[in-house]
Amino acid sequence: MTTTFYVDRPSPIHRLNPVTKLVAMLSIIVIVFAIQLWWVAALVVLVVVVPAAVISGTGGRLLSLALKLLLPILIVLVLIQGLFFPEGTTVLAQWGPARVTVEGLLFALGIGSRITALVLCSLLLLITTNPASLMTSLSKNGMSPKMSYVISSTLQIIPAFQTRAESILLAQQARGLKLRGNPIRRIRALLPLISPLILGMFTDVEERSTAMEARGFSSTATHTSLMIVPDSVVQRVARWVFVALAVASVVLSFSGLLS
């Protein structure tokens, strides 16, 4: 399985400064959650996400990932809120305890449109942004190097851990471990997997922390980065515009002008 969603393409969206994309994504999410109109979320998807996906050439990947993540949630959402919405008054159909109400369906539409916008925006950021350059530019903007170390290093060791877990599981099965049976039995079967995983983790960590200390990891001096992430004045201005839009949407939402 792949570690991250990142797809390398030579596109202008990929070349944008990662912080610009992050600020844009966070602002859009705030706007979509502040202005509770489902068509605002739909508009964001049509005006921002779809063109950006087409320009970056990652539309297919975005669509397949988004469907895989969103479809189960949206189906459950429509089933829960569409059928069981006790606050609803306009009943369209009734079947036993389940009532299809207009209010319930509208509620599901509101929640569903926001979750869809959230997933599409964050997937687009992750697909078009190399995690390493995201970490570099965040560190340059004041994020603790400890934070970027933890995130980058975790992304690298997860595949190794998955392989290790698989081989431990196979080894234990060869010794007669049964993975079937009732849930309590299956939970007990996890123990012989987890203990060797965690023992291995302790020995790794010892070596790594000594190596990090020897290279001045905890030094508080300004770190020099090997990677140069391009930035521009236009993007710096764009970031502030996005933040201003997000703040404006929150003010608008609390001022009650929308309802």
């Binding site: 609803g88 599901a108 569903g112 979750i115 997997l193 922390s209 990891f217």
Partner: protein, 295 residues
């Protein structure tokens, strides 16, 4: 390790980071109280008012503030432990899902770090687990970062209080953690996801809604049915693993020694001074004094 001995020298922004952690805690508590006390009245018209905005902004901001403030306090040895703990969370969580277990088991690493290295380390592990989960598996994990922070913090304080000294106390700590986790995450499930966090949990929410409960009450009851059980099992698994480990692994952590987390009185040489130096001495001359083949 020289850094573990001088934490004040490592952290030049001590006050600022304390303010971050305190502000994060206040933001999370205020968000929860607001959402519970002022439940949206517009729900009858199919809207939620500002509840979903407050839920997502308040919880994500609070979790980030705590993680940013807490990470500065961690020595290098703990920082090196965090990525592996996150990998344990994610890999075991995935295996639990693929084996079709009725529990999540996605916080083993967080609780382990909380017990061995304290509440701050637990909070950082929890928050970054959900960030990584969001970057690799599903962005929808991000709003739940606050729950993971709370679990890591509570595991740390449970260890400090001595809940890992007796085998029957750790499941109790798990139960309490699970209840708090369920209460904290209920507004996320209700106001951001509309109760649709998964197939099985969604069916429970639908059942509670069908009886006529409010959305927040339904997700709270659903959480109280699944979270405490999961945390009791996870705390028990962590306890079993920790006691299966050689005690020199456990007593390597300053937090474990300072609060006597596992309750065993340690030899004077280990409690007073560098345990690392005694180890290297013990490892060094071993081949000459004793034959290495013992089995």
């Amino acid at each position: 390790m020289s850094t573990t001995a001088t934490p004040s020298a490592v952290d030049p922004h001590r006050t600022r980071n304390r303010i971050f952690v305190a502000a994060g805690g206040i933001v999370i508590a205020a968000t929860y109280l607001y959402l519970v006390l002022f439940q949206p009245t517009e729900i009858a018209e199919g809207g939620l008012g500002q509840s979903s905005l407050i839920a997502i902004v308040g919880y994500v901001l609070g979790a980030l503030l705590i993680a940013v403030g807490a990470i500065h306090r961690l020595p290098t040895a703990t920082i090196a432990l965090v990525p592996v703990a996150i990998a344990v969370n994610i890999v075991v969580g995935q295996i639990a899902t693929s084996l079709g277990l009725p529990v999540y088991l996605d916080s083993i690493g967080t609780i382990l770090v909380g017990v061995l290295a304290g509440p701050a380390a637990g909070a950082v592990t929890g928050a970054l687990t959900n960030v990584i989960w969001g970057m690799t598996l599903s962005p929808l994990a991000l709003p739940f970062a606050v729950t993971a922070v709370v679990i890591g913090v509570l595991a740390g304080y449970a260890a400090r209080l001595g809940m890992f000294r007796r085998f029957y106390l750790a499941p109790v700590a798990g139960l309490v953690t699970g209840i708090v986790a369920a209460l904290i995450s209920a507004p996320i499930a209700a106001f951001i996801f509309g109760g649709a966090t998964g197939g099985g949990t969604g069916a429970l929410v639908a059942a509670f809604r069908a009886i006529g409960n409010s959305l927040l009450a339904s997700t709270t009851m659903q959480g109280l049915l699944s979270d405490p059980l999961d945390k009791v099992i996870t705390f028990t698994i962590v306890l079993i693993i920790l006691f299966a480990l050689p005690s020199r692994f456990r007593s390597r952590f300053p937090f474990v020694r300072q609060y006597n987390v596992f309750g065993k009185a340690l030899p004077a040489s280990e409690t007073l001074g560098a345990p690392k130096s005694t180890e290297t001495i013990a490892d060094g001359p071993a081949p000459t004094t004793t034959p290495p083949k013992e089995d």
